[in-house]
């Protein structure tokens, strides 16, 4: 096949929750920071762990495991918070491992019909399957 066709590529960041690999578009990532002290905000849904101070801004933090209805585990030094930004709304998500940034061509993204588990697209790559959640639903 003639590979001179230009295909669009997207840059994604992959991360791991409970052994499953997910991906997020780099455009929606502001920062990746070490998991640290999160100030609890009372009366919030259980998956909202609280808030942190990110360079003078107060950012809400969501626990991905809790959001996905998994039991809590102890976080270690590999645990990170990915600070996401969707349309100006910032939310940090706690993930167990941050893997890497890679370029994936548009054609690799396949939409899925299944409506549970927050997944909207799937990337079937040679090095493994990466799930792309519907972040609007996931982050509420």
């Amino acid at each position: 096949m003639n590979d001179t066709e230009k295909t669009n590529t997207r840059s994604i960041l992959t991360y791991e929750v409970n052994g499953v690999v997910y991906a997020i578009d780099i455009m929606n990532v502001i920062d990746v920071i070490e998991y640290g002290k999160v100030i609890k905000v009372p009366k919030m849904p259980p998956y909202i762990k609280g808030v942190i101070d990110l360079r003078g801004q107060v950012v809400p933090i969501m626990d991905m495991r809790k959001r996905l209805m998994l039991e809590e585990i102890e976080y270690d030094r590999k645990t990170c918070i990915i600070v996401t930004d969707f349309d100006g709304t910032q939310v940090g998500i706690i993930v167990e491992r941050v893997l890497e940034v890679e370029n994936v061509s548009e054609t690799m993204f396949e939409a899925t019909r299944r409506s549970t588990g927050y997944v909207s697209e799937i990337i079937s790559a040679k090095d493994g399957v990466k799930l792309v959640p519907d972040y609007e639903k996931l982050l509420g």
Binding site: P42, V59, D87
Partner: protein
Amino acid sequence: MPIFEEGMDALLDTFIYESQTLLESLDNILIRTEKSGLEHEDVAEIFRIMHTVKGSSAMMGVPNMSELAHKVEDLFYIIREQPQVTYDGKTLYELLFEASDALKSEMEILPDKEAKFSDFSALEEKISALLRQMKGEEKEQAETGQSEEEIFLPTDPKSVGAVRIFFDESCMMVEMRALVVVKNLKRCAQVMSTIPEDLDDEGAGDYIRQNGLVVKLVMEGSEERVAQAIADSLNVARFETVKREETKEKAKTEPRKPTEQATAAEEEKKSEIVEKNIGAQKKQSAQESIIQVRLSKLDALLDLVSEIVITQSAVSSSPDIRAAGNSLEQFHKNERQMRKLIDELQDMVMSIRTVPVSQAFSKMNRVIRDMNNKLHKNVELSFVGADTEADKSVVDILNDPLMHLVRNAVDHGIESPEERLSSGKTEPPRVTLAASDSSGEVIISVIDNGKGMDAKEILEKARKKGLLTKPESEYSEEEALSLIMKAGFSTNDAVTEYSGRGVGMDVVRSNIEKVGGKITVSSKVGEGSRFDLKIPLSLSIMEVMGIIVGESFFSIPIDSIIEVIKPKKENIVKNNDGNEYILVRGRTFPVIRLSAVYDIDSAKSELGDGVVILCHSGREGVCIFADSIDSEQSVVVKPFPPYLSRLNVTDYGMSGCSILGDGRITIILDIKTIMDKFL
């Protein structure tokens, strides 16, 4: 293509700001005078506004704006000089509003380097037509001799006459020639006045070209010399003596001394002119003592002041200082002085930034006027609390939401006159904008007395559009009504000019939430609807008392605290339902344990072991139980991120959070809400 010369870019901002301000005040004058009629000052003011816009847009290199402004200026020149000229008021106002809109919208595209200058020739032609009509009338008047009435006063003595001088068509600087002629005339006769009065004025040249220059002077005995003086002047095409009607002579027979009267009238006029000049000068000097400041600079200033407040607080409550105890008297004295100064500084900066919300409200006058013209619903607009002040950044945000809400209210809420009649509504349709402030928030309400909204209908419509996220029955009335703000909801079958495209309200809501605010809807079918916008006063700095509950760090505004007590066992009362009360100096107050209401651990369980903070909201009091007190601090309160406010965090008594100088985050409590929620 608006490419401006180097250096002009910086002036562009000033030009846009100043012109927008002028056009806004023009709008206000137009709206007011449309009903009440044009007074002399209104005409003069409109002329001045157009004159300024003409000049400054010419300087900026925006020829279309300059020409359009020039045309309107011409219109008002005639209205000013010939107050009795008749014209169709409706046409005039339509043109004026159209011109104002055209100029305003042109300024919006100016910053875009790709945009092209708009073509105003159609509008200009309409104005020219009106101009011709008005001038045509004038010419008629000149021919029927009516203008004699203006030139001559009944009290003018017989010796006073007037000449009308016409200059060559090819003459370039007509005003100059006119000035020279008048000067020549002054040498041989007593010149009383000229029409146009002010030969230095911009429009004078055009006027003279059209109508000739009229010079009123004492002719008797000097006719020949006058004629000679005129003939000697350059570029004079022809001149004629303006005839006076014989009947005017009758006034002279009255016993009053006419010449004295004439001079008295002149004196009055002179002093009027002087007063006007002084007034104008005063206005100018008042204007000169106002300067424009970019809001971003004020933002930076406020941030800086906030940092100073936090740092000062950190210094004063530093553990080193506390360790030294009472031995630092001089230090504490200076520290108190510094605190006082910083307080004043903070107040000053906040007051610089506050403006009355009327700034945003008054813009709605135009919206209502335009909508009434189109929809004929005759909606009245009324304001309540328009002088409520809020931070400029907050008032700026209000424009778009208010516009959407007002348009919706008139378009959808208010019924047509026939509908109102048939449903027995006798009061006039009204939209009310109300503003008030309370505990760090500004509340803006848009209220209409229209047909209201039916929650059931809304749920039905939302279901059909697939917008429901939970079963219909689980929606409270308020939640159901709020669905109208969801994206994609209001795609009306008939998309009107004003609403129904489904992109309005959701954007409005997200913009309000972005600044930490909230929109709530309430409505009664048949009576009307109400939208409340709650916007926290941005960056309020307040003094708070920090308290520790388990691992959590809360703060209570000092204003809400009456005192801190360590209750004695005999003053504690426990009810059989588990609720506790404390007796303080003859009054009994309920106890709220933050650990209980917030489901967090606390270190202390006995009321006597921890601290009790007696707080109040209005005349009611409540005791808040905590493990210990942290310290008094001045903090900059930031609203919660919209993400959390959507989860109703404020309903649980948490009004905002703050990052302290030492990096800790504290959650600010609102006593009133806590009492509402947990008692």
